[in-house]
Amino acid sequence: MKGPLQDAAPIELTLRVNGTAHTLQVPPLRRLLDVLRDELSLTGSKEGCGEGECGACTVLVDGEPVLACLIAACQVQDAEILTIEGAGLESIQQAFLDEGGAQCGICTPGMIVMTKAWIERCRRDDVEPTELGARTALAGNQCRCTGYGAIIAAALRAAAPGDGSS
């Protein structure tokens, strides 16, 4: 998905990532994923396919899940971007550890960030977190190791009432 436009003359962009503002000179169509990984050294967001199929690059933009391989950095100027390196994910991360939801680990950051989005949406819309809800929310995040059972269990554990993940 890399192309010449990504290498056009740089422009100045301000990105707010994990609570910190970064002013950068980047080509206007540089993918958000490349900016995060190459310019900000935030390598927790992974590239598994480069075309929005695997979900390993999932980040939150103003709370909504976005595939960082499919969006240009200039599209998210001034938005609040949350990556796996950010704060507020601790209880979800612990749930993935407790349930065995991480094996090779390459899909794990995207899974955890997407789980965060799902839990926040459940709370915002006052919807009971269910297994089907978790499976539907995570359907765009592919894992080849686990068979998903442990990941879904982790998502449900993190979403359980009384959990302090938000």
Binding site: L97, Q103, T108, T136
Partner: protein, 747 residues
């Protein structure tokens, strides 16, 4: 009373993984590194005449490496020396590497590759493996005299014949292949780091390609985002390529495949054709089996000989039969070479025998559970290679467990009188008239029963002599040094649990070393369900010796360990693997103990088939698995659940096909794997029939769960809609063709 074995130990690699801190190859910052790329053949077969360079491109900006720039041999060393590192004359598959390019950045690399044009004389290509006469490897297994049984059948006996096909499958590790190589030091030594299962295989390939010593080619595994066999041999190709470029340009070179390139050129599961002829007594007793196995090896031999070996040894299934002939061949085609994928030949042959058992059951009017239970190998029986099964035979236990969990034994399988049974005509009618679109669904159950040999086949482990060392660090912690890699399956956790248990220390007192060929001994590759049983067994022996030297006492472990070092002991124990006593194997006749022991398992799948679309949903999967001893039950369940879902994907939705030698599913949008919504609940029952020669009784588990999913699903489809599907994957198109081919079908 154990402290760690059989209990849950938190993954030592877990906290970094959930925090996104783990360094995979794409995350490794390498200042000054150039990027490497590969010019590839667009045709499956031809002669490379020359490579034209566009004079409009400034070639001083890049570095090119061709076959003449290889300092050692132009051989991709693995088993047979037939594959070049770079093609120099004959081209044998689409995507074959012709020339390597290094450039300072991605746009320059892409421009350079676009400015190169290989001039190739195209030659006729052999793309149908079933008609290929070029054989990579043949294997013949003969037990008893099946010819005599078929020639003079006992009264009442019947013969069943069936052909079974399985298509390829992509490992689809979520992290694509990649590595970084550094240029040689003045003494000729160099380093390669990357995503891989087998650093010592990579070293072996570099030694041949560069004409250097093992000490000069240092290979370090980085965190690896899944392998499933796909990172067994191919990382050696990437390592040779990137190291050649690093040597040529005098800088580190990174080669990171994007998904498209990875899907196009890396090895996948062997497509296969199995033909069965079985003589069966009226009571269902298997009298004689004749099995022919053909695997598409692709353009080069790579691992095909050993994949075929495992496939053939498992081709008679987990059944008792005194007269067996298995004739296998892996043939050459002009496809991308096929390679290792979890199960390593056994999923193909297991699928065939299991579908054949269902064919027999239906033909004789026997229940598939009863037929399997009647014929299942038990302790004291001999396998197709004549191996006497002595220990750890959990066949009855897994059958009983899956029966109890699923109720398969009382389910009226394929019984048209059953209330909810559909007939083929129902399906055809629904499909033809669309009268009840979206509402007409039929359910079915299917069973499979299977075993899988733990460790290398035959004399493989004796030849390999896997080594492990345990050494005390100055602070008193014990370091486990092995070449076994963590690829998600839990090697680090399992080794930590075994070492802490045996040394009588805390998990925090154990360090598992990074697999770095300069630092760890060659424990053999991380393949073949061998890491726990074989390497873990050697590790446990080493720990036992070290524990004796340290001695018991009230003082904390690290204090006692430091005291040992202070007494002048080097605090280091190395152990080499030796097979359990009494095993024999003959590579020429394929007779004897093919494996030290086997894992045993049985699956029951419940499916729902949509009669309008013939889409198949797997609703539930029960599996019972005898692993000897679950060192880490949660990891073992993770292996079983993950492997089972891969098997379910292969059964009905993971299509991998080729056209003109090109892989058609060349991106993730088309190369699909199951998602959260496709994955059924997987009920795992762990059975522990200990293997006396395995560590704590453990045997292998990694590959086993891949073997049984596909036949169970296709049996369940047969139960639901009445057709005997014999081709994996059982896509809706294939099911429709079967329905339409039935006598009297109305559509």
């Amino acid at each position: 009373m154990t402290h760690y074995v059989g209990k849950h130990l938190a993954r030592p690699d877990g906290p970094d993984k959930v925090a996104g801190r783990t360094t995979y190859v794409a995350d490794l910052a390498v200042p000054g590194a150039w990027l490497g790329g590969t010019l590839r053949s667009p045709v499956p077969h031809g002669r490379l005449q020359r490579i034209e360079r566009d004079p409009g491109f400034d070639w001083s900006r890049v570095v090119l490496v061709g076959p003449d720039d290889i300092p050692g041999e132009n051989v991709q060393a693995l088993i047979v020396d037939d594959q070049p590192v770079l093609a120099h004359d004959e081209i044998c598959h689409v995507g074959e590497p012709l020339l390597l390019v290094a450039a300072p950045d991605a746009p320059t690399l892409e421009a350079a590759l676009a400015a190169l044009r290989p001039v190739i004389e195209s030659l006729p290509a052999q793309l149908d493996f079933e008609t290929s006469e070029h054989v990579h490897k043949r294997i013949d297994i003969l037990k008893g005299d099946p010819g005599a049984v078929f020639a003079q059948l006992p009264s009442g006996a019947r013969v069943f014949e069936g052909s079974y096909r399985t298509d390829s499958q992509e490992q689809l590790y979520i992290e694509p292949q990649g590595c970084v190589a550094w240029p040689p030091e003045p003494d000729g030594s160099f380093v390669v780091r990357g995503s891989m299962q087998c650093p010592h295989y990579v070293r072996k390939a570099l030694v041949r390609c560069f004409g250097v010593t093992e000490e000069q080619a240092r290979v370090v595994q980085l965190a690896t985002g899944g392998g499933f066999g796909g990172k067994e041999d191919y990382p050696s190709v990437l390592a040779c390529h990137s190291a050649l470029l690093a040597r040529a340009c005098g800088r580190p070179v990174r080669m990171q495949y994007e998904r498209h390139e990875d899907l196009m050129v890396t090895p996948k599961r062997h497509p296969a054709l199995m033909t069965h002829r079985t003589a069966v007594a009226a009571d269902g007793t298997l009298l004689a089996m004749d099995v022919e196995v053909v695997f598409d090896g692709g353009a080069y031999a790579t691992l095909s000989s050993v994949v075929l070996s495992r496939g053939c040894i498992h081709a008679a299934g987990a059944y008792r039969c005194e007269h067996v002939s298995i004739r296998g061949r892996a043939v050459a085609t002009h496809h991308v070479p096929c390679g290792a994928f979890r199960g390593f030949g056994a999923p193909q042959t297991c699928f065939a025998i299991e579908r054949q058992m269902d064919r027999i059951a239906r033909g004789l009017g026997l229940h598939p559970f009863a037929l399997r239970h009647h014929n299942a190998l038990r302790a004291g029986d001999t396998t197709a290679t004549g191996q006497l099964l002595r220990d750890s035979v959990g066949s009855m236990e897994v059958l009983e467990a899956v029966r109890a969990a699923s109720g398969i034994d009382t389910h009226a399988w394929c019984d048209p009188q059953r209330d909810d049974a559909a007939t083929a005509d129902d399906a055809i009618d629904a499909g033809a008239t669309n009268a009840n679109a979206g509402t007409t669904k039929r359910r079915g159950l299917g069973l499979s029963f299977f075993f899988h040999g733990s460790g290398f086949t035959g004399s493989g482990e004796e030849l390999l002599k896997g080594r492990v060392r345990v050494a005390l660090l100055p602070d008193g912690r014990a370091e486990v040094l092995s070449g076994s890699t963590e690829i998600g399956q839990g090697t680090i956790t399992m080794f930590t649990a075994m070492a802490a248990e045996t040394l009588g220390c805390d998990a925090e007192d154990i360090v598992v070393a990074t697999p770095d060929t300069a630092h760890v001994p060659d424990s053999g590759p991380t393949v073949a369900s061998r890491t726990c049983m074989v390497v873990g067994g050697v590790l446990t022996q080493a720990c036992r010796t070290l524990a004796e030297r340290i001695g018991a006492g009230d003082a904390p472990f690290r204090e006692r360990a430091r005291a040992l070092l202070q007494r002048g002991d080097d605090g280091s124990v190395g152990v080499t693997y030796h097979s359990p006593p009494g095993l024999t194997w003959d590579d020429d006749t394929y007779r004897g103990d093919a494996y030290p022991c086997y894992g045993w398992a049985a699956d029951v799948a419940e499916v729902e088939v949509d009669l309008d679309t013939l889409e198949v949903d797997v609703l539930h999967l029960w599996t019972a698995v005898d692993v000897g001893k679950a060192i880490q039950p949660r990891l073992v369940e993770g292996q079983i659940e993950g492997g089972t879902l891969q098997a379910l994907g292969w059964a009905q939705r993971e299509v991998v096909s080729t056209r003109g030698g090109h892989v058609e599913q060349d991106r993730m949008a088309t190369c699909i794997i199951p998602t959260t919504l496709d994955a059924p609940p997987i009920d795992v029952t762990l059975i522990e029939v200990p293997f006396p020669h395995g560590p704590f009784g453990a045997k292998g588990v990694g590959e086993l769960p891949m073997d049984g999913g596909a036949p169970a699903v296709l049996a369940a489809i047969e139960d639901a809609i009445g057709v005997h599907a014999a081709h994996v994957p059982a896509t809706p198109e294939r099911l429709l063709a079967l329905l339409q081919a039935r006598p009297g079908a109305s559509a």
